[in-house]
């Protein structure tokens, strides 16, 4: 947790989430969808759509890190790019510091992107190999007219120093650097324009463990020193737990659970989150190796299952036919802990409504030991 977050948490009046909700969020996304049309055949007949992001709502408070986890194809990267409008969303709202992002024209959007930056996953393809490191970092300064000439040179040297690179590296080219160093260059480039929000899209996934720790620490230092807000997208649950204030779990384009890191890892509610947590290999050979092994693969987002998108693979003992009929709302199961499951009490989908949909099992709390052994081992 960052100092800022700790201060917030310590403030009277309640939890981190409570105070986050009280203030106006820096970023507010509601009912965001992105459907990629599938064109079939020579004449591009309409073949349906891939629902990459399907009705996502979330708030990010200033100074917080919201982690987004999920497996490949869950839509987390598309979500990140939609927020910057690098990909144009199909529908929904995005508000950044009160600005309606979707309503902006090209010029205003460019100005907004000074305040929202992105760090990409692949440090090898996200830097132009024909530009020097100095030119890469400087580009944003020039485009947004923040500094020119000697002043810009000075800023570039400061930025490189800030991310732990020697200032004289400015005249070198990206290929001369290792993966971790390139990721630092990408971070310096993002910082150059003094953004408020940084979308970090799997920033450490391509790095070795020892280098990964360096980059994570750097991101945390920068957040503390500059009061940055992060949307941290990753598939690695342990990395997200380490860095995030709150964590959203995505599955097939939807957020299925959203809670503080501590709550999520202590008591995951959505059976998918439970399975995901139990699947993380524990680096402790003496630990229990019990796991919830899901059967089958993630269904195609072009043809998602009806009702709860997770129901075909769901191991919840109370699963019944209602799960394939009712779309579970993302509802607050405990203070600040949101999950989408009609079989985990409490639920706003009443029992008679479930019965009308053919339910045979009333909601019953299910928390398998395998899902929380990580928490217990500490």
């Amino acid at each position: 947790m960052t100092d800022a977050a700790q201060r917030r948490a310590a403030a009277p009046g309640g939890s981190t989430l409570g105070s986050a909700a009280a203030a106006t969020p820096l970023l507010s996304v509601s009912q965001l969808t992105k459907h990629f049309p599938i064109r079939r055949g020579l004449f591009g007949r309409d073949g349906g759509a891939v629902r990459a992001v399907d009705g996502v709502s979330l708030d990010v408070a200033r100074g917080e890190t919201l982690g987004i986890v999920g497996e490949s194809g869950c839509g987390k990267t598309t979500l990140g790019r939609c927020i910057l409008r690098l990909i144009e969303p199909t529908s929904g709202q995005i508000h950044f510091d009160g600005i309606d992002v979707r309503a902006l024209d090209a010029g205003s959007l460019r100005r907004l992107r000074r305040r929202i930056q992105i760090i990409f996953q692949d440090p090898f393809s996200s830097l132009n190999p024909r530009m020097t490191v100095g030119a890469i970092v400087r580009e944003g300064l020039t485009i947004h007219r923040l500094a020119t000439g000697a002043e810009a040179d000075k800023r570039v040297r400061q930025l490189l120093d800030e991310v732990g690179l020697r200032p004289e590296y400015a005249s070198r080219y990206p290929h001369e650097f290792s993966g971790g160093q390139r990721q630092r260059i990408g971070i310096a480039r993002a910082l150059a324009v003094e953004p408020e929000l940084i979308v970090c899209d799997e920033p450490v996934s391509a790095l070795d463990v020892s280098v990964q720790a360096q980059v994570i620490n750097l991101l945390q230092d920068l957040q503390r020193d500059r009061g940055l807000t992060y949307l941290f997208i990753a598939h690695d649950l342990s990395v997200v737990e380490h860095i995030a204030t709150r964590v959203a779990v995505m599955y097939l384009g939807k957020i299925v659970e959203l809670a503080t890191g501590a709550d999520l890892y202590r008591e995951p509610i959505m059976p998918y989150t439970q399975a995901l947590l139990s699947a993380v290999p524990v680096p402790d050979p003496t630990a229990s190796r019990e796991r919830i092994v899901l059967t089958g693969d993630v269904p195609s987002p072009a043809n998602p299952p009806s009702g709860c998108v997770f129901h075909p693979r769901c191991p919840h003992p109370g699963k019944d036919v209602a799960c394939s009929a009712i779309v579970p709302p993302l509802e607050e199961k405990a203070p600040g802990h949101w999950a989408a499951c009609i079989k985990q009490p409490p639920t706003t989908v009443p029992w008679h409504a479930q019965q009308q949909a053919g339910a045979t099992h009333p909601p019953e709390r299910h928390l398998p030991l395998a899902a929380i052994t990580h928490g217990l081992s500490s």
């Binding site: 290792s178 720790a213 680096p283």
Partner: protein, 353 residues
């Protein structure tokens, strides 16, 4: 162990002669593996773990070369003395390999059934029909639903997890004595990884196969391996039973790796880091190859290349600390001091506040 080991690698050196100099990718690696055992090889990119695997199967190509003095004995045969026909008898038959990228390891223009059947036909006198049946049977064993239909599909029609199952089926179809799995789950999502690890363990139990599991993921190592080699700079820097390695790591690199890893349920205020980067294999530092990044290094580490010291039963470490344990005191260093660990209890309390 009374039986001779299944595979013994001794003083393996694989060098690449490139324009940028000689890359000593694997530089004097020795280990052995017994029947039915799972040996983990862990290390970061460029440590030589994959080249070690390829060397065993003699899959090293120009400008790479296995240096003289290297010895690989498998089931009593010196693999480096075999002619091409001889090594082909071993590959895919007695020793099989599972690669990281399930997309590139399969041929896109043949059905998966054909690719598995081909292995059978190359290594046995089985008829086309029998080989196909065996392929379908293997797909059943690795848990692919509707195996007869799947066998007629092409790799691009299968998901990543399915393709990895096909590769495992292909590796196990001849009931090899040894399977070398090079990052078999790295490209997969955690829930699929869990399925694949479960499958490998189950098949190993059933078939008594030995497995060399190469990975950068200490979590995977902890789950599958009984003994572990830690590699750094083309060398083995530590070898131990898996419980010993995690409980009492001796080499500062192993110690650093274990601390640098964020762990679910054990939130820390700050991650410990190993400063710097892995040096290029064309220019390993003199003396100890880890000394530039080591929090304990002293002058001896620069002068003297450390041997593998015996730490305990079955536990060796390539670090002079074995000789001078009183030196295990962290040098004051900006990163190292900042990297103080906060106990899980206090950080949890912070979260709950």
């Amino acid at each position: 162990m009374t039986q001779p080991p299944l595979l013994t690698v001794s003083d393996l050196r694989t060098y690449f002669y490139t324009g940028a100099g000689t890359a000593r990718a694997v530089d004097g690696v020795s280990f052995s593996i017994g029947a039915g055992e799972t040996l983990g090889i862990v290390g970061e990119s460029g440590c030589g773990k994959s080249v070690t695997a390829l060397s065993i199967l003699r899959l090293i190509q120009q400008p790479g070369r296995l240096e003289s003095g290297s010895k690989i004995v498998f089931e009593g045969k010196d693999l480096l003395q075999l002619d091409d026909a001889g090594i082909r008898q071993i590959r895919g038959n007695r020793i099989a390999m599972i690669f990281q990228e399930p997309m590139t390891a399969l041929n896109p223009v043949f059905t998966v059934g054909d690719q598995i059947a081909e292995v059978v036909r190359v290594h046995s006198k089985a008829s086309r029909r029998a080989a196909w049946d065996r392929a379908v049977e293997m797909l059943t064993i690795v848990g692919i639903p509707a195996p007869a239909e799947r066998a007629r599909q092409y790799p691009h029609q299968l998901s990543g997890g399915m393709r990895q199952r096909v590769l495992i089926a292909m590796a196990l179809v001849m009931s090899p004595a040894l399977v070398i799995a090079d990052e078999p789950t790295t490209a997969l999502d955690v829930t699929i990884q869990a399925q694949i690890l479960e499958l490998l363990a189950e098949l190993q139990q059933r078939l008594g196969t030995s497995i060399v599991m190469i990975t950068h993921d200490l979590g995977v190592i902890a789950e599958v391996a009984s003994r572990v080699l830690v590699m750094y700079g083309g060398e083995v820097v530590e070898e131990a039973r898996v419980e010993t390695l995690f409980a009492e790591p001796h080499h500062p690199y192993t110690e650093g790796l274990l601390h640098a890893m964020p762990r679910v349920g054990r939130r820390q205020e700050r991650l410990a880091v190993i400063p710097g980067n892995v040096p290029p294999p064309t220019a390993w530092p003199s003396g100890c190859r880890f000394r530039d990044r080591c929090p304990y290094a002293w002058d001896r580490c620069e002068r003297e290349h450390p041997p593998l010291y015996q730490i305990g039963a079955g536990h060796t470490s390539r670090c002079h600390l074995a000789d001078e344990p009183e030196r295990r005191v962290r040098r004051p260093r900006a990163e190292a001091t900042a990297a103080t660990l906060v106990s899980p209890a206090t950080s949890r309390a912070g979260d709950a506040a």
